[in-house]
Amino acid sequence: MKNAKSAEYDLVDHELKKAFADVGIELLKIEEAFGRYAWVRKEIKKRPKEGYFLWVKKQPKMPISSCVTAATKKVSQQMTNLLVVEEGLKVTMLSACSALAKNLCARHYATGKIIVKRGAKLDYKSIHSWGRDDFVEPDYEFYLKKDAKLDYYYKSTSPPKRLNMKTTVYGDKGSSANLNIIANAINSKLETSDVIHLKGDDATGIVRLRLVANKSSNVIAHSKVVAEGAGKGHLDCQGMLIDKDSSITFIPEIVDKNKDAVMSHEASIGRISEYEMNYLRSRGLTEKEVINLIVNGFLGDSL
């Protein structure tokens, strides 16, 4: 059977279940890459424990996937990942991180560095699905070289107890970054911090947040664009508050250091009105079904 992926990395707890890559893609354990390449040691300062090194040197025919799973109680994963996309290539990365059960009390820390070289395009889709007692802390940095493009989608389909997520983008001249961060917090604490640095002229950066707080959740989102060059930046933060015991805080920040930069932001937090609720209930939907329908619509089918 023909393989539908150009490379695949599959880790369960700390055990590497699968690692293969087509010709033109180098896939190594990050520890090995750290020992083998001096430039990797420059990119990753601290000796890594586990994670992947993916170096895409030729145009892949299919998407690249990584799958990291927590399977045993109280497992603590400390991932360090490095992805490099060479000049002019177009790469789709599908990343899934999840817990096999809802009650594992797993810990998942991930730091990642993604370098998209000149004129390359990276479509990065990340889906998280965690248990109700898990603690998750991803911290990713994207380096977009001249004219590179990044479309980044993060969606949390089943939230952990606590999610602290940092996303930082450094965009050189002519680069573009679209960040879409979508999460439905249910009985959880979610804190996101995303920053796009528009370093070069004509760089663009757009952040689109869609965050829902339900069942005593606390959501805090810091979102920032810094224009150093004459770029364009926009923040679009929308939240939906479902119950009276939850809260959402948006902190959008635009920093303009260049008189020719164009920066804007919008932020809103809404709720489901009684009239909407009753209208949809009159169509035969229960309160819970109405909430699901509206929340799913709000979060959209981005992935």
Binding site: N278, L280, R283, G284, L285, F298
Partner: protein, 244 residues
């Protein structure tokens, strides 16, 4: 009042219904029976309680029944929530349907439809639109009809189906509604204060509501409407065809 000679099975039966909104009594003892397959019209001036009756039948929580009973095919619905009433067979086409952001009409119909979409009316262009967002008056009414008929209800309440529409649109939507009601052998309560819709609907009975009470019921909608048109609703209180 002329008695309805034909013996029909009663679909909706309302007995001595009293309804309060924010502790203010709006309906003050409403009795109403609608037979299977019958279309009844309910007329009345603004703030007479017509829409309150519609919401109370649908079970909208802020319309509190303080006394009386609502039955559908002899089943007591009075304490059922709106979704329970919808599942039992009641549907309400809202006068002012709300915008529901991020929910497409097509997605809602897929969720609620009992038998799939009927192709008797051309509303396909609305399926990918957000519910009631940016729709014209006619499109909103069309969306309402698509929703209520997809539920295959036994009784449909049309709350001011004709409001804000030109006569051609009223004719089109009424004709479609009549056709669907006949097909499903469903009953209807049509709330209006504009008699034009009656010409197309030709209801079996007409009721006039004033100050939270039905003060007139008749089989002769033409005479009732002519009287209202000529003399206004005050005349209904003294009218010869007024019910006892």
């Amino acid at each position: 009042m002329q008695n309805h000679a034909k013996k029909v099975n009663t679909t909706l039966s309302i007995k001595d219904l009293h309804v309060s909104v924010d502790d203010k009594e709006v309906l003050r003892g409403v009795d109403l029976d609608i037979g299977k397959g019958e279309v009844h019209a309910l007329l009345g001036p603004n703030a007479s309680g017509k829409s309150t009756l519609a919401y109370a039948i649908m079970g909208i929580p802020e319309y509190k029944v303080t006394k009386g009973r609502i039955y559908l095919n002899k089943k007591d619905l009075t304490k059922l929530p709106p979704e329970g009433r919808a599942k039992t067979g009641i549907a309400l086409a809202f006068q002012n349907p709300p915008v529901v952001k991020n929910v497409k009409l097509g997605d809602l119909l897929n969720r609620i439809s009992n038998t799939g979409l009927d192709d008797g009316i051309s509303g396909e262009h609305l399926l990918k639109r957000e519910l009631n967002k940016g729709l014209s008056g006619g499109e909103k009414k069309l969306s309402e009809l698509m929703q209520v008929f997809s539920l295959k209800p036994k009784l449909i309440i049309f709350d001011e189906l004709d409001s804000g529409l030109d006569i051609e649109k009223v004719k089109t939507l009424t004709s479609y509604s009549k056709q669907m009601l006949n097909k499903e052998n469903a009953s209807a309560l049509v709330i209006t204060h504009n008699g034009e819709i009656l010409r197309f609907l030709k209801p079996e009975k007409i009721h006039v509501m004033i100050n939270g009470k039905i003060i007139c019921t008749s089989d002769d909608w033409k005479t009732v409407w002519r009287t209202i048109k000529r003399y206004g609703y005050e005349k209904c209180k003294k009218c010869r065809v007024r019910s006892s």
